[in-house]
């Protein structure tokens, strides 16, 4: 079997999603049984950003977030809609509770990583003011590092365009 001549760029630190959800659930007063739902919601929000990067023909983007995961591209209402679509939760208050939980969990875990850490599949996160839900997200298409050097050249060309 051939051995790759390069490896995807290593991430400095990768957050433990279970710990993120567990800590967030504890802060927001959710039961542990909500953890799979929280993870599904986080995945749905990540897909939202993935779709945006794909539509713009880029492989990455940098954005400042508020309310945890909202940004200039996606309002808090968009984020709550994704929570609803992925979990089936209808009530706005409970949707918001999940958003608070995810934001709090992310903020708590990032306290240990002043230079930021990655959510695998959802880019690199750095806390700006976690208590106010402010973060800096560097989103990279999850598969871009796996396509090899040619893919990097292509992505630069895309940026020029």
């Amino acid at each position: 079997m051939a051995t790759p001549a390069y490896a995807p760029t290593p991430q400095p630190a990768v957050l433990d999603l279970y710990a993120l959800c567990e800590q967030g659930a504890s802060v927001a007063g959710l039961r542990k049984s909500a953890i799979p739902q929280m993870k599904a919601a986080l995945g749905a929000i990540a897909n939202l950003y993935c779709g945006h990067v794909l539509r713009t023909n880029r492989t990455s983007m940098q954005v400042a977030t508020y309310s945890g995961f909202a940004s200039e591209y996606f309002s808090e209402h968009d984020i709550l809609s994704e929570i609803a679509a992925s979990t089936g939760i209808r009530g706005a208050a409970r949707q918001k509770q999940y958003l608070i939980a995810l934001t709090a969990g992310l903020g708590e875990l990032l306290e240990s990583y002043p230079s930021g850490a990655a959510i695998r599949g959802f880019g690199h996160w750095q806390s700006v003011n976690a208590k106010q839900g402010l973060f800096r997200l560097t989103y990279n298409l999850p598969l871009a590092p796996y396509f090899g050097p040619q893919a990097d050249i292509q992505s630069e060309a895309d940026f020029v365009v």
Binding site: T3, D16, A44, N47, I119, G121, P142, L143
Partner: protein
């Protein structure tokens, strides 16, 4: 292998004949977005009984959107390198064969679903010009509602015969079989059967391809080869199996099938070609709730497959190539 890669140049300098993106068992429910907070979404996936019940779960919105996101990245990469892409879906498009479920699945494949925030989630085969490059066959779940004429119409519209279906690309020939023809008692146990006339027709069609030295791939819902360890069992007895699978595997091998693609058991695996069976890839469930989502990327060459298993790891929110499963497997094109 330490790190995974979707770059074929690490294995061979030339591009593949085509890239097969092949998935199975998405089990689409009647609504693309999750409309209700079902009780089983919370605790049940953690209970030991889950293996017996997972077949009942519909798709997961999050997994389906992640599948679409991964699909777009792969197709855009391969198409930008002029590598033809073919898509193979090997059954159980729906959770229980209802009209609304067929509609959800068909829309996801061809175009996409608009979410409440007006964003499109789907494979978008139409957009990529891949509608004619899809081979789609039925699974046992797609037949669950066949007793209701209204629901059965959806099945026959999408999966009506004749079989085998044939997808002829410039590089390969792919045949699709209907392995869900078992008598009712067996069908209820999710066991499969291929009628002799369907198998005979396939072998006859393959004969010409074999003479032309073409790469022949056969897809069906039920695997033709299972190891003793991986075969699903209930009370010590194997379940979900294909009747006479050893004979069928041998016939396929002897008549020139290079690769077999299957699904059904929700356990991704691959087995090398042997004198009694072709090289086989079994896909897991692509996006079912409670499952460990998986699909395959197969870069096809005239003499081998470079394969990548795409998985949704527990500590991630996207599909990634599994470094432990990436590799290559050779096959012979019969003279």
């Amino acid at each position: 292998m330490d790190e995974a890669s979707l770059d074929w140049t690490l294995f061979r300098p030339e591009p593949p004949l085509c890239t097969l993106i092949r998935f199975s068992d998405p089990h689409f429910g009647s609504s693309f977005v999750t409309r209700d907070e079902q009780w089983w979404r919370k605790g049940l996936p953690h209970l030991p009984v889950v293996n017996l019940l997972t077949g009942l779960f519909p798709h997961s919105y999050t997994y389906a959107c992640a599948l679409a996101a991964a699909f777009h990245q792969i197709v855009q990469h391969r198409q930008s390198r002029k590598v033809p892409v073919t898509v193979v879906h090997s059954g159980d498009l729906t959770s229980s064969g209802k009209q609304a479920e067929f509609s959800t699945g068909a829309t996801f494949l061809a175009h996409g679903h608009y979410s409440d925030t007006n964003r499109l989630h789907g494979l978008g085969l139409d957009k990529y010009g891949l509608s004619g490059s899809l081979l789609d066959i039925p699974g046992n779940h797609d037949l669950w509602s066949r007793g209701d004429p209204k629901q059965a119409l959806s099945f026959s519209t999408r999966y009506g015969g004749p079989y085998p279906r044939r997808l002829d690309t410039s590089a390969v020939v792919i045949y699709g079989m209907d392995s869900n023809r078992a008598p009712n008692a067996q069908h209820r146990r999710a066991n499969g059967e291929i009628p002799m006339d369907q198998l005979g027709a396939l072998l006859g069609m393959m004969r010409d391809d074999r003479k032309a030295g073409r790469v022949v791939i056969v897809t069906l819902h039920h695997p033709v080869q299972m190891t003793a360890e991986s075969a699903p069992k209930l009370a010590g007895k194997e379940i979900l199996f294909l009747k006479d699978r050893d004979k069928i595997a041998r016939s396929l091998r002897e008549n020139g099938a290079c690769v077999v693609l299957a699904g059904h058991v929700h356990q991704p695996q691959w087995t090398r070609a042997t004198p009694g069976s072709p090289l086989q890839y079994v896909a897991g469930s692509a996006c079912q709730s409670g499952a460990k989502p998986q699909f395959w990327i197969l870069d096809l060459y005239p003499d081998e497959v470079i394969h990548h298993s795409m998985v949704y790891p527990p500590n991630a929110v996207s599909f990634f190539p599994d470094p432990d499963t990436q590799g290559r497997a050779s096959f012979e094109v019969s003279p």
